[in-house]
């Protein structure tokens, strides 16, 4: 390992004889969207990295000031489009906190079910793309990717039956949910969960019995416990570094206190530890969904009347911060309300954004090929980073 402190300097105009400045992204097969990393290379070793973001900026926070509380949840989906349900969840929770709205128990359970389904779908996409980063689009990685996409498709089918949309939902509504589950959905959901559970076991076999996969992930991109806490990363990254923190457990919101589940923690802090954490989360998420389906109460799905106009939801003056545990970590939404139908100001706290800031600390000293492995294990979604 090279000395990190000495080599994280970024020298754009440096043109010495031994260093190669290489641009990775924003147009790059493993940029995971539009990430740009300017790598300084000494041979194959990365000695400095400059991360450039902002290529996907869509003025989300400004946009939220022009849309009403009834309209914005479906736009909130677009911040983190891989886990659209999570952003909606955070937004409506903040609005409900200011307005002191009750959320019926059935709606709370439905929210947990879709949030956990979304976690599985998001982790499936992460596993597929990460393996593709390491194994290549023309290799074993693509095989895992297509298997994962096949399973994710089943979850998107569930969402389609529920909402009518496959990627961006608008399922959450201030005061509850917008839709109730259709007939036969529970059985379909159970079958899907069981199938995915067994298939996740197959992926574990395929990857963990593979010496090359272990060689690529173990000991690569180690984030120490101290570094993780200093930088402020969240989610599976934090838990992979030995910090037992999960909002669902530590600050239970919605109805998470009703369910039994464990929070996986690994201490190694490398790519493999992050992989292990997410693999356990697959199982835990499906466990939560099963419990929620078993205990699903009957009753109304919203404490507020059905929407007739976009400006129908008015929230009293006030401000609130609500946070949920998304697939990538803490997703927060801060709303300042001035009493009208639109927020005065809205602020997103994206998990991917804060997780991304770990990259310059861990990448220097690794090989070029490790950069994509580390990037993939961080699992950034650029809709959420740039917003």
């Amino acid at each position: 390992m090279l000395d990190v402190n000495e080599t994280t300097r970024v020298e754009m105009d440096w043109s010495g004889p031994e260093r190669l400045q290489m641009n990775m992204g924003p147009q790059h097969p493993s940029a995971h969207g539009v990430f740009r990393a300017i790598l300084g290379l000494q041979g194959e070793t990365v000695v400095d990295v400059d991360a450039v973001i902002g290529y996907l900026h869509r003025c989300h926070e400004k946009l939220s000031e022009t849309l009403t509380y009834a309209q914005y949840p479906s736009i909130a989906s677009k911040t983190d489009y891989v886990a659209a349900m999570t952003s909606e969840f955070a937004y409506v929770m903040a609005a409900e906190e200011i307005g002191k709205f009750e959320v019926p128990r059935r709606a709370q359970y439905l929210r947990v079910i879709v949030a956990e389904l979304q976690r599985i779908a998001s982790h499936l996409l992460w596993l597929g793309t990460w393996c593709m980063d390491m194994g290549g689009a023309l290799g074993g990685g693509a095989t895992i990717f297509l298997y994962c996409i096949r399973e994710r498709e089943d979850i998107l089918d569930l969402f389609e039956a529920l909402v009518g949309a496959r990627l961006l939902y608008g399922f959450f509504q201030v005061g509850g949910t917008r839709y109730d589950i259709p007939d036969g959905w529970i059985e379909k959901c159970r079958a899907t969960i069981d199938r995915i559970d067994s298939r996740v076991g197959e992926y574990e076999q395929m990857l963990e019995d593979n010496a090359f996969f272990l060689a690529r992930t173990q000991g690569v991109g180690v984030v120490s416990r101290e570094l993780a806490q200093d930088v402020g990363i969240a989610g599976p990254l934090l838990r992979g570094s030995g910090v037992n923190f999960d909002l669902r457990k530590n600050v239970p919101y919605s109805s998470y206190a009703d369910f039994e589940f464990t929070v996986p923690v690994e201490t190694a802090g490398d790519c493999y530890a992050r992989y292990k954490v997410r693999m356990v989360e697959f199982r835990e998420a499906s466990g939560i969904i099963r419990q929620a389906l078993d205990k699903l109460p009957s009753g109304p799905i919203s404490s507020r009347p059905a929407l007739k106009s976009v400006a129908q939801i008015r929230i009293p003056k006030g401000e609130a911060y609500a946070r949920v545990e998304g697939p990538r970590g803490e997703v927060g939404s801060y709303i300042i309300s001035d009493g009208s139908a639109k927020p005065y100001r809205m602020k997103w706290r994206g998990a991917s954004f804060s997780n991304l800031s770990i990259l310059p600390h861990i990448i220097p000293g690794h090989k070029v090929a490790d950069v994509v492995a580390i990037m993939g294990s961080v699992d950034p979604v650029f809709g959420e980073v740039d917003r």
């Binding site: 190669l20 290489m22 641009n23 990775m24 790059h28 097969p29 493993s30 290379l41 041979g43 194959e44 393996c131 593709m132 980063d133 390491m134 194994g135 290549g136 689009a137 023309l138 290799g139 074993g140 990685g141 693509a142 095989t143 297509l146 298997y147 096949r150 395929m206 593979n210 090359f212 996969f213 060689a215 690529r216 090989k367 070029v368 090929a369 490790d370 950069v371 994509v372």
Partner: protein
């Protein structure tokens, strides 16, 4: 005028013309085979739209590549850049020169056939490096550096493992090696106790590396180096590089089938020999493809460590052990 009455040089020209065209035809259809095979592994269908079961897909691909615009980057070293695909393709085609497809059926069954194959197949590195250097692209440059590293590291294990059957047969001539394995299944060198299986495994591993296939495809490495040395190529030049790669792969598969799987030995009349040889070569090819589509790529330093620390000593030890066994068997008369 009968065929035998033709002058020898004309015979050679005709034979090589036929072999070249057969190889090019095979390359196009082997890509379809691989795509179908990979698709089945990934629970997909694969090419299906062009022709029945996608059978015309390779032709459509070839036509598409021919019609594509030929882009030369302004900063590229034009001559090196333009010459590289051809320099790469020629050795990949030349390796078929010494392979006999049946007794007496081949372009040139020279007495150093194996040596010729190994020497020529190592020459493709010149084309790779020219492509990487001439493109004037940082991804391509890194890939060219990796190519030199990898091919130098894996040529020795490749040669050593290919020399094991040579020792067992006692000849460098390909038709002699094949002839020794005729008669029964147990005469195939892959069934030679212990040595045969070990040599075959090592041969497959070093073939994977020499062919730049996953898990050793660090030259191409599209997730980090986009497409490696051929990132700037388009149209027909890209097609030539692709053609060369697949030709090399098919050539190596034939070599594997010849060295270890008894070449044209098989049941049925003698004229079925080439068919058996083709089937065995395709078996080797699909075996390599199977590995390709189930492994993740390993890192450049790990590839070099695997070669120099494990594979090279192992193949060298195996070669020495084979020599000892052969000498012992000849002296004991077994």
């Amino acid at each position: 005028m009968t065929l035998a009455a033709l002058p020898p040089w004309l015979m050679a020209v005709i034979a090589s013309f036929i072999v070249l065209n057969v190889v090019i035809g095979m390359v196009t259809y082997v890509t379809l085979l691989e795509r179908k095979f990979a698709a089945r592994m990934q629970s997909r269908i694969g090419p299906y739209r062009v022709g029945p079961h996608g059978l015309l897909q390779p032709i459509a691909d070839a036509l598409k590549l021919m019609m594509k615009e030929d882009v030369v980057p302004t900063a590229a070293d034009r001559h090196v850049y333009n010459l590289a695909p051809i320099v790469f393709l020629i050795p990949c085609m030349l390796i078929f020169a010494t392979i006999p497809f049946a007794p007496g059926l081949g372009v040139a069954d020279v007495n150093i056939g194996i040596l010729f194959f190994l020497a020529v197949s190592a020459m493709e590195i010149v084309g790779l490096f020219m492509a990487g250097w001439g493109s004037n692209n940082k991804y391509a440059l890194l890939s060219a550096m990796r190519a030199v590293n990898q091919i130098i590291s894996y040529d020795l294990p490749f040669i050593f493992s290919a020399l094991v059957p040579v020792l067992l047969a006692g000849s460098l001539k390909m038709s002699d090696i094949a002839a020794v394995q005729q008669g029964s299944l147990l005469k195939w060198f892959i069934f030679y106790p212990v040595i045969g299986q070990l040599a075959f495994i090592m041969f497959i591993v070093s073939t994977l590396a020499a062919e730049n296939r996953v898990p050793f495809d660090i030259l191409e490495a599209e997730s980090e180096l986009v497409a490696g040395f051929r990132v700037e190529y388009s149209g027909m030049k890209f097609a030539l590089i692709q053609l060369g790669e697949y030709a090399h792969m098919i050539g190596s598969s034939f070599l594997g089938a010849l060295l270890f799987l008894g070449a044209w030995s098989g049941p049925g009349p003698e004229y079925l020999g080439p068919l058996w040889f083709l089937l065995k070569a395709m078996f080797v090819f699909l075996f390599v493809t199977w590995i390709r589509w189930s492994f993740v790529r390993i890192r450049v330093d790990q590839i070099l460590a695997l070669s120099w620390k494990a594979l090279l000593p192992a193949t060298l030890a195996l070669l020495i052990a084979t020599a000892v066994v052969v000498v012992w068997r000849t002296s004991a008369g077994i």
